[in-house]
């Protein structure tokens, strides 16, 4: 015969030793919860090994002015046209691609290829910005990155769906924040490349053929 058991509520000060063995139901739940927590933990390293989407990137500090200069060099090397006053750039496969966020634009407009890998360097000139990739009239999965001035976030990317994308700023960056929308176009791997402006001064004034009709002047 065991002694009667005393139980009390959470507002009662327990007397004597309260470090007592737990009962089976509680032990079982704690064990299940702990096992689930281990699964939650394991999934992250597993995805680094097996998954295709990891926010690791090549990370480093960079002077914002220096990053701006690199972006301008990149634009000069691979510019193929202009849209709404934004340079349109078509880098070759495997290139280091630069995009800079500043109050309140993303520069430049990019033309990338499906299934081709690039290193996309993202940084900010002034304050924090948010890089949010959204497909226009499509269901490509939205992905997001924090863009911090003074830090270069070099992401190795492979676009997997052709179409038009927008880069929406999703970190508050001042009164013009909501107008900060950039553009990326993902082309089929076999689509013909546009001539580089630096190679052909004749085409420099011409608008980029494929996209100018859609973009329009707003």
């Amino acid at each position: 015969m065991t002694a009667p058991e005393a139980v009390h509520s959470g507002v009662v000060a327990p007397q004597g030793v309260w470090w007592k063995p737990a009962h089976k139901a509680e032990k079982t739940w704690v064990a299940i919860a702990f096992a689930w927590c281990m699964i939650l933990f394991a999934m992250m390293p597993i995805w680094h090994l097996k998954g295709q989407q990891n926010p690791s990137g090549i990370r480093g500090t960079v002077d914002p002015g220096r990053f701006m200069a690199r972006t301008q060099e990149f634009i000069a090397a691979y510019q193929v046209g202009e849209e709404n006053g934004y340079p349109v750039v078509e880098p070759p496969a495997g290139a280091d691609v630069y995009m800079i966020g500043m109050m309140w634009r993303w520069m430049p407009v990019l033309r990338l290829r499906e299934g081709v890998s690039y290193t996309l360097h993202l940084s900010a000139l002034d304050v924090n910005h948010g890089f949010s990739l959204i497909q226009v009239n499509g269901n490509a999965q939205n992905v997001n990155f924090q863009i911090v001035p003074g830090y270069d976030y070099g992401l190795r990317i492979v676009p997997n769906k052709t179409g038009e994308y927008r880069v929406v700023c999703n970190e508050f960056c001042g009164i013009g924040h909501h107008a900060m929308v950039g553009k990326i176009v993902v082309l089929d791997a076999t689509a013909p490349a546009m001539p580089l402006l630096k190679d052909s001064t004749a085409t420099a004034a011409a608008p980029p053929a494929a996209d100018s009709a859609k973009g329009g002047a707003r």
Binding site: A3, P4, E5, V7, H8, S9, G10, V11, V12, A13, P14, G16, W18, W19, A22, K24, A25, E26, W29, V30, C37, M38, L40, F41, M44, W47, G51, Q52, Q53, N54, P55, G57, R59, N84, R105, N128, G130, S132, L133, I134, V136, Q141, N142, N144, Q146, V148, G150, Y151, L155, R156, I157, V158, K161, V168, F172, C173, H178, A179, V181, R218
Partner: protein, 575 residues
């Protein structure tokens, strides 16, 4: 002795006059803050609802700053200070240590909060709640936050000193009650939080004066040590309130002190690391740092929440069964006092916090899944389910007991009070779920115009997003209605309410008095160990209904978690 203490007729607790007054003062200011933040919430909602789009861009970001700061910092912390005085002085029957210092702390908090409010409303701090450097507010804004934080820190010191006084003056025997233990947890996390606050707001104040530089990434790292840890104070305080309200409303028992207290210790040890999940897609930190910190060291703080998520309802079930509600799995729930707003608010707080806030929070805080979450509407969708439907709703439930027990007034508009938790909880549930769903399309948070009318490149979200934003607006309006009901009820009760009267008067006319105050359920039981049941299934631990409920929870968790991995797998290859 008798002139500084009164003995509560309902609970038998000795209440110190200073504790009484400090609880009242903090609760009143908290309600004022809730009113300001609630008005701001309505304007934010009516602007983000594109069909109305009420405010200009300038005022939208300004009012959004007000909403975040007033709700997440001022409302919550003033209310938590009231809880700390209750959990120390009242529950332990002690005097408040250093009452003058306690009032000075309160004064500093009021001055700091007032200064910040003035700066925000006059457009000198349009930097949103997080005020990421190098966005700059006028220096007095940062000074206001520092004054508020110093005041809060002093009040926490008074709380610890009161614990020492109670122990030394032997106002209780044994160990502190579990509710007080939970409040101690909240107070320890508050010290960690306010330490981070000092470490970031003082340099930022100097930076705003032009005296030094602050690195934007370091700012984000340290600021979230404040910004997120402050939400962990809320979690610990909320769980303590769950145990408290369970006890007062239906005599919930503590299944096992060791398990519940260990879970609180896990919060203290690991939960502060959770602030790392704001930096999962930041350029400053590497994957190992992200994986370790965002998992709060292998999710040991999540384990703590899952433990409380079991022991709180199980304690309610066992307490109810011991009072005779033993039929089937759920008689204890069916015949629970659903007309008592203290009880219904507590239950809705537990359910929405767990099923919506908890599951989304852990899923979104996963390093890679965060790619599909960061700064979209999924994020505020998550935290409105934790800090609003969880913490604020639990505090509302507690208020219905604080009004008669501390303010000695009957709850006014009693009929409205009974439905208030239902209106608020349903509204917030609809609001946060619709918001989370809209966010899966990439709809940004903190954004004035998602029609992008002024952008150089056009973008239209799918019609589903419009529908979700519409549903979000309906849920939000319902929640604002519930919040307004709460303010009308509490202000009327406190300033114009009828006194509770003595026990006989209450028995004659119980209007405005929750059933747990009218007749406090038994707080202790002596359970004979029966011959015909095994020890494990003895009546002091028999909670089969709760086992079913947590099973449903676990399945929902697993399904949602892996659905999100599937979603992520469709994205561009990124590495």
């Amino acid at each position: 002795m008798s002139d500084v203490f009164r003995t509560c007729a309902h609970t038998g607790l000795k209440v110190h006059k200073d504790a009484d007054a400090l609880i009242k003062a903090n609760a009143v200011v908290a309600t004022v803050m809730l009113l300001i933040g609630g008005i701001a919430a309505l304007f934010v909602l009516l602007t983000r609802w594109q069909a109305v789009h009420l405010l200009s861009a300038e005022w939208f970001y300004r009012i959004l700053t007000v909403h975040g700061m007033t709700m997440l910092v001022f409302f919550i912390l003033f209310f938590e200070m009231a809880i700390l005085y209750f959990a120390s002085a009242v529950l332990l029957g002690s005097r408040v240590a250093a009452p003058k210092l306690a009032w000075a702390a309160f004064g500093l908090m009021v001055i700091g909060a007032g200064l910040v409010e003035v700066m925000m409303w006059t457009g000198k701090a349009d930097v949103l709640f997080s005020s990421y450097v190098p966005l700059r507010a006028e220096p007095p804004y940062y000074l206001g936050v520092i004054l508020f934080a110093v005041g809060a820190l002093l009040a926490v010191c008074v709380f610890f000193a009161t614990l020492v006084v109670a122990k030394r003056e032997k106002t209780y025997t044994g160990s502190v009650p579990l509710v007080t233990y939970g409040a101690i947890t909240a107070a320890i996390i508050a010290v960690i939080t306010l330490g981070h606050g000092a470490a970031i707001y003082i340099p930022t104040y100097f930076w705003s004066m032009g005296w030094m530089n602050v690195d934007p990434q370091i700012y984000r790292l340290v600021w979230w040590g404040l910004g997120h840890s402050s939400q962990q104070i809320n979690v610990a305080a909320m769980v303590a309130v769950w145990y408290l309200m369970g006890a007062l409303t239906i005599g919930a028992v503590v299944l096992n002190e060791k398990i519940s207290r260990t879970a609180f210790v896990l919060y203290v040890l690991f939960i502060s690391m959770a602030s790392a999940h704001h930096l999962l897609v930041d350029p400053g930190m590497g994957p190992a740092w992200k994986v370790w910190n965002t998992s709060y060291a292998m999710y040991l703080a999540v384990l703590a929440s899952m433990i409380h998520g079991f022991t709180v309802p199980a304690g309610m079930e066992v307490g109810s069964r011991l009072r005779g509600l033993t039929k089937g799995l759920f008689e204890w729930l069916r015949r629970a006092p659903w007309g008592d707003p203290g009880f219904s608010a507590t239950v809705f707080s537990i359910v929405v916090f767990g099923f919506v806030g908890g599951i989304t929070g852990v899923t979104f805080g996963t390093e890679q899944i965060n790619l599909t979450v960061h700064n979209t509407l999924r994020s505020p969708g998550h935290f409105h389910a934790t800090v609003v439907s969880g913490t604020a709703l639990a505090f509302m439930g507690l208020t219905y007991y604080v009004v008669p027990l501390i303010f000695r007034k009957r709850v006014a508009f009693w009929g409205m009070a009974k439905v208030q938790p239902y209106v608020f909880a349903l509204g917030m549930l609809i609001f946060s779920m619709a918001m989370t769903f809209a966010g899966t399309f990439g709809v940004p948070r903190r954004h004035w115009d998602i029609s992008f009318a002024q952008a150089p490149f056009d973008l239209q979200f799918s019609p589903t997003v419009d529908l979700m934003i519409g549903i979000m607006a309906i849920g939000g309006l319902l929640a604002v209605t519930g919040g307004a009901m709460y303010i009308v009820i509490t202000v009327s009760s406190v300033f114009f309410g009828r006194p509770v009267g003595d026990v006989a008067a209450m028995a004659a006319d119980p209007t405005g008095i929750p059933q747990g105050v009218l007749k406090l359920p038994p707080q202790t039981h002596t359970v004979p160990v029966q011959e015909n049941v095994t020890a494990d299934r003895g009546p002091a631990h028999h909670a089969p209904g709760t086992l079913v409920l947590v099973g449903v929870f676990l399945v929902a968790f697993i399904v949602y978690y892996f659905l999100n991995w599937q979603l992520l797998a469709g994205a561009w290859k990124i590495g």
